[in-house]
């Protein structure tokens, strides 16, 4: 199979009540990603957009931004899900033989709508939707289940919030960089027990883009230092209905990670990875997903967190960008992780640069409580 590289990246500063339209956000990151690669829109063979019609408040939302993504006269398709899944489809299209270059672009303006109302509509209208569940209340059920299964404490989850908001201080694009303490998290407003305000990610606006290219075209288009190589990808989905799963069981993620590691030739992720961007939409998710990723044994990630293993200067920096808990543009978030990993591997991550990063992991989720997972391994 031919290798594929990320040859250009861009992301906006993440804000709330961003005055740019969806299309303006897409124009911006598309233009910047092309500039980053040093190519023109004529070099792009096809476009994968990532958006959600409900969040955008319009149907076939990809059509509305097709001009903005430079898709006029080209093929454009859409993934309604996290950006890691949009990038996955972009990778498949690039590998299909039909396209040598693919622009993947995601946009999101959470502040233009009602997050609880929209995530409620993700539930089955025949069963749970009528109960009023949403992303927060269902996550709270998962958090408590995880605590119960392994005897974990809210204070341990609070450490994730402290670490990642702190990491965001090094990231000028992050929405909420904050120096906070475990006490601050514990004393923040209760939202849905055991989740408090500082356990939850903020509603965020922003956009991101990456350009994928097959090896032979990448080598023609850009200098070698711009190329970040896709080493492995894995994806897997669990049952839709919350009650059909054990919410503390990460079997889908474990399967996704196994596939990605196998393609990348990784045997001991904790030792072989230099950094990981993990989907921490809520504090408890970081340790839960780290266990699913095989970076910590089941029930042990919180203890590793306490020992500083995942700190910026720890053995494996996790979410050096500040994570989703400081900045959470839904759908864009996973693509932003890929941008972050690419910058890290190019040595262009500024103050948040992880020294000598050669191999990075990005992880995205789809569906309530991480129904589906997509794991990427990128390398130099």
């Amino acid at each position: 199979m031919e290798r594929v590289a990320i040859i250009g990246v861009s992301q906006t500063k993440y804000t709330q009540n961003n005055p740019l339209t969806f299309a303006e956000l897409v124009y911006q990151v598309t233009t910047e990603a092309l500039e980053d690669a040093g190519i023109t829109i004529q070099d792009i063979d096809n476009v994968v957009s990532v958006s959600s019609d409900f969040w955008d408040g319009r149907t076939i939302s990809s059509m509305a931004i097709s001009d903005a993504s430079g898709a006029y006269g080209k093929d454009i398709t859409t993934v309604e899900g996290d950006g890691t899944f949009g990038a996955l489809y972009g990778l498949m299209r690039t590998l299909s033989g039909s396209f040598n270059t693919t622009l993947v672009v995601a946009h999101h303006k959470g502040t233009e709508s009602n997050m609880k109302g929209i995530t409620n509509t993700a539930f089955d209208p025949l069963v749970e939707r009528r109960l009023g569940l949403d992303a927060i209340s269902s996550a709270a059920l998962q958090a408590r289940r995880y605590m119960t299964k392994y005897g974990l404490k809210e204070e341990q989850f609070a450490l994730v919030s402290v670490k990642n908001h702190g990491n965001a201080m090094r990231n000028p694009l992050a929405l909420f960089p904050m120096e906070i303490t475990v006490e601050d998290v514990m004393n923040s407003r209760k939202i849905a027990d055991p989740l408090k305000l500082l356990d939850c990610s903020p509603v965020t606006d922003g956009a991101a883009a990456i350009i994928l290219a097959t090896e032979h075209v990448a080598k023609k288009l850009v200098p070698p230092k711009k190329c970040v190589w896709v080493k492995g990808v894995g994806h897997c989905s669990d049952a839709f209905r919350l009650g059909d799963r054990d919410l503390a069981d990460t079997r889908a993620l474990t399967a996704a990670a196994k596939r990605a590691y196998s393609l990348a030739g990784i045997q001991d992720p904790c030792r072989e990875l230099d950094l990981a961007e993990v989907y921490d939409a809520f504090s408890y998710m970081e340790p839960l997903w780290l266990e699913g990723l095989g970076i910590a044994p089941e029930g042990m990630a919180c203890e590793y967190l306490e020992r500083g293993k995942f700190d910026f200067h720890g053995q494996l920096p996790v979410n050096p960008s500040g994570g989703r808990i400081s900045t959470h543009p839904v759908q864009v978030a996973g693509l932003s992780e890929l941008v972050e990993c690419a910058l890290q591997l190019r040595g262009e991550a500024g103050d948040r640069q992880v020294e000598g990063a050669r191999t990075a992991l990005a992880h995205g989720i789809n569906g309530m409580c991480g129904q589906a997972h997509c794991v990427w391994i990128l390398g130099k």
Binding site: R130, L133, D134, L141, R144, A192, G243, L247
Partner: protein
């Protein structure tokens, strides 16, 4: 940014999308809701291959992809596997005023959990492992709120 943009205050158009829908319930869940509405009973279905019992019933077994063709009546009791106290108001979505409790309830006689409201107890007193029972609504219309809520078994 071009200079002319500095003198502009971008506008925001408020809006709302309200589109009526009808959702076909299908024969599996229709049986579940008819039994609930007309007879006040909670039924599950069982996969003949792996014996997993699903409630609410499913069209296909998630493990074997076989029809869970065996119908099983449940006693309506269960054990709280997880819960949350919802502290925020969302009157368009929530059937109760906050604070109220959602529980993930492992149903007796089934292998899956039901998500529902736990009531008739102070929210702070709900515990994992607590035994609960379904309380039916007086006026049942054939939907998940025909179970009004779950309450602690007395």
């Amino acid at each position: 940014m071009s200079d002319w943009k500095k003198s502009i205050t971008p506008m925001v158009f408020p809006g709302k999308i309200a589109v009526p829908y009808t959702w076909t319930v299908g024969s599996t869940l229709s049986k579940f809701y008819c039994e609930l509405r007309d007879n006040g009973k909670i039924w599950a279905n069982k996969c003949p291959a792996c014996k997993t019992v699903f409630v609410p019933p499913k069209v296909k077994c998630i493990h074997c992809y076989r029809d869970p063709s065996i119908w099983v009546e449940l006693p309506g009791t269960g054990t709280v596997e997880s819960y949350t106290i919802v502290r925020y108001e969302e009157p368009m979505l929530h059937p109760r005023k906050a604070p109220f409790v959602y529980g993930l309830i492992k149903m007796d006689g089934a292998d899956t959990c039901m998500v529902h409201i736990i009531d008739e107890i102070e929210p702070e007193k709900v515990k994992v492992g607590m035994r609960v029972e379904a309380v039916l609504s007086e006026n049942r219309e054939g939907n998940i709120l025909d179970i009004s809520h779950f309450r602690p078994v007395k």
